[in-house]
């Protein structure tokens, strides 16, 4: 497993733990106060009923106390309340199931899958009185609340895990891909250098080996430049300063002599290395797209840089892709980070890069600076 995946798993686990901990912390007190409330109201109800029962029994004529008590309790049938009265033997019972609790206790009891709240009491007349209330409604409510909390927690955790994965993947992947990309040129260069040193080669073979070394070292320096710029673009680490546009353009013309430059915007506020890399990429693509001998135009108007070529242009689909860097990466998996990199540099400068079709069918790349601090 890669290091970043380990980091990912660990941080996801930690976040999930914290999340569930918080959910528990919020839900548990609410649930326990709901339970306490149900118990207190039952206790009050039981006290009221027991008090009334006692009074009724006291008022009843001698010898008729038990039938009166039975009649009194019968009154509650069908209300979800059940009672049992016993003095040595059962005097009255409407319990749906057998419940045996010591007098002076209260709590919950689950019988045949149904939750009941009981209060066991002793009346002054020496009668053990048991109050039983059907708590299925409370039970259902509590279950629903717990399920809802668990479900919400899981959904949030999943969402968080996915977001974190995408984030870490995006931060880590291009670098690992570039590091991997470096292996090939390194292997080739090392191998050809050793061959040149150790083997008896013909002139032709020597030329081939040396050409490969030169070619691969270009590739390597290319990758290294990309890594460096990627780092800068990502970190936004380098402090911005005024960049002389004319000097920037001159530098590019040294590499690409066919570029025609026009400077009507003297200084850009930004990072010189990044801007140079951006223009290099844009011009490089434009030069590659141009037919032999055609000019590539590089213009700087206030807040806008444009690179125009007179090539055969891109298809509508390709244009859509280069304007959306995230989709471009999918299209050209492993095919370099040129265009996404350009977008990233533009973004770091508070600018936007757009590609469009030029008047003669070629391509115009425009970098528009929105919050430039230039004079």
């Amino acid at each position: 497993m890669k290091l970043w995946q380990k980091t990912y798993l660990l941080s996801t686990l930690l976040c999930a733990l914290i999340l569930y901990g918080c959910m528990f912390g919020v839900t548990a007190p609410a649930l326990s106060s709901a339970i306490r409330g149900a118990q207190e109201s039952s206790l009050r109800e039981e006290r009221a009923i027991a008090g009334a029962l006692e009074k009724t029994m006291l008022d009843a004529p001698e010898g008729r106390q038990i039938p009166v008590m039975q009649a009194f309790l019968e009154y509650y049938a069908g209300t979800g309340l059940y009672f049992e009265a016993r003095r040595d033997e059962a005097l009255y019972s409407s319990l749906p199931c057998a419940v045996d609790k010591a007098p002076g206790t209260m709590g919950f009891v689950r019988e045949q899958g149904r939750l009941y709240l009981f209060v066991s009491d002793r009346l002054p007349a020496g009668v053990d009185f048991l109050y039983l209330k059907d708590a299925a409604a409370t039970d259902g409510l509590l279950r629903r609340q717990i399920t809802a909390a668990a479900l919400t927690g899981t959904l949030v955790a999943l969402f968080m895990a996915a977001a974190l994965y995408v984030l870490l993947y995006r931060v880590n992947l291009p670098v690992s891909r570039l590091a991997h990309e470096m292996r090939t040129p390194l292997t080739a260069m090392k191998g050809y250098a050793e061959t040149l040193r150790d083997a008896k080669l013909t002139e032709e073979q020597r030329y081939m080996a040396a050409s490969y070394i030169a070619e691969e070292s270009t590739r390597l320096s290319d990758i290294s430049a990309r890594l460096l710029t990627l780092h800068n673009a990502r970190e936004e680490a380098t402090p911005f300063g005024p960049v002389d546009v004319a000097e920037l353009f001159d530098h590019i013309r040294q590499t690409y002599p066919i570029v025609a430059c026009e400077v009507r915007w003297p200084t850009i506020f930004g990072d010189r290395a990044m801007l140079s890399s951006l223009l290099n990429n844009l011009v490089d693509n434009a030069v590659k797209a141009s037919p032999a001998g055609a000019k590539v135009e590089l213009r700087a108007a206030p807040n806008v840089l444009t690179v125009t070529d007179h090539g055969s242009g891109m298809s509508d689909e390709a244009l859509r892709y280069v304007n959306r860097p995230s989709r471009f990466k999918k299209l050209h998996a492993g095919g370099g980070l040129g265009v996404p990199l350009c977008h990233q540099i533009a973004r770091a400068h508070g600018a936007r890069l757009t590609y469009a079709r030029g008047a003669d069918g070629g391509t115009v790349a425009t970098v528009t600076f929105y919050n430039s601090l230039t004079s």
Binding site: H180, T184, T187, A188, E194, T195, A199, K200
Partner: protein, 215 residues
């Protein structure tokens, strides 16, 4: 001389392998994708296949499953142990991690060819004939006695013909990695070989580096 199939999508590396293997006298065929490799291996017989694990169209391991009866050394860019375990599980004979040393590669190739008995049994250059399995050397039809050390040294030089081997490399290959000898030892044995077998024109001293057997 063995016939070797090189399966590697990077042209630079494919050419590098081919250049060096042809240098020591092997015959090479290049394939740049998994499908091409499977097709080529189906058409011709090979003594050895060098196989890159990461091919554009399929994993190298898939090629290994399809091409069964050819000894295989796979090239892996990752140092991942899972790659090695998978490769050996499929019956690979050896692996080489990129970036590799050319001399290392040649030695490994020879070792696999020797193990799978696909190396040459006899070698002739000028008036000199060597029968590898019998450990016999004939110069102008007359048998020449060589010490085992001299024979091994000669074997390594000829296996890596046209490629320069450093004294250090020769020491570790011919005397074993633990041998605490001096590079002078190599020089002495080379002198003896040259004298006994009349090889002055073929065993060349490469300035500041080592020796090279040239045909």
């Amino acid at each position: 001389m063995a016939k070797i199939l090189i399966v590697e999508d990077e042209k630079a590396i494919n050419d590098l392998l081919k250049l060096n293997l042809e240098m020591v006298g092997h015959q090479c065929v290049s394939a740049f994708s998994g499908k091409e490799a499977i097709r080529t291996a189906g058409e011709q017989g090979f003594d050895l296949m060098l196989l890159d694990v990461m091919l554009p169209d399929m994993e190298g391991f898939a090629v290994m499953e399809k091409v069964r009866d050819v000894p295989t050394i796979f090239l892996t860019a990752r140092g991942a142990t899972t790659d090695k375990i998978r490769g050996f599980g499929l019956g690979a004979d050896d692996y080489i991690v990129k970036p590799f040393e050319v001399a290392e590669l040649l030695v490994r190739v020879q070792a696999v060819l020797r193990r799978t008995h696909r190396e040459e049994t006899e070698y002739t250059i000028g008036d000199l004939t060597i029968r590898w399995e019998a450990h016999e050397v004939f110069l102008r039809g007359k048998r020449v006695e060589l010490t085992p050390q001299e024979f091994t040294l000669l074997h390594i030089l000829i296996e890596n013909r046209n490629v320069c081997l450093s004294r250090q490399k020769l020491l570790s290959e011919a005397w074993g990695i633990d041998f605490l000898g001096e590079s002078r030892t190599v020089d002495v044995h080379i002198q003896k070989l040259r004298r006994k077998l009349d090889l002055d024109d073929h065993i060349k001293t490469i300035y500041k580096n080592g020796y090279r057997f040239e045909e």
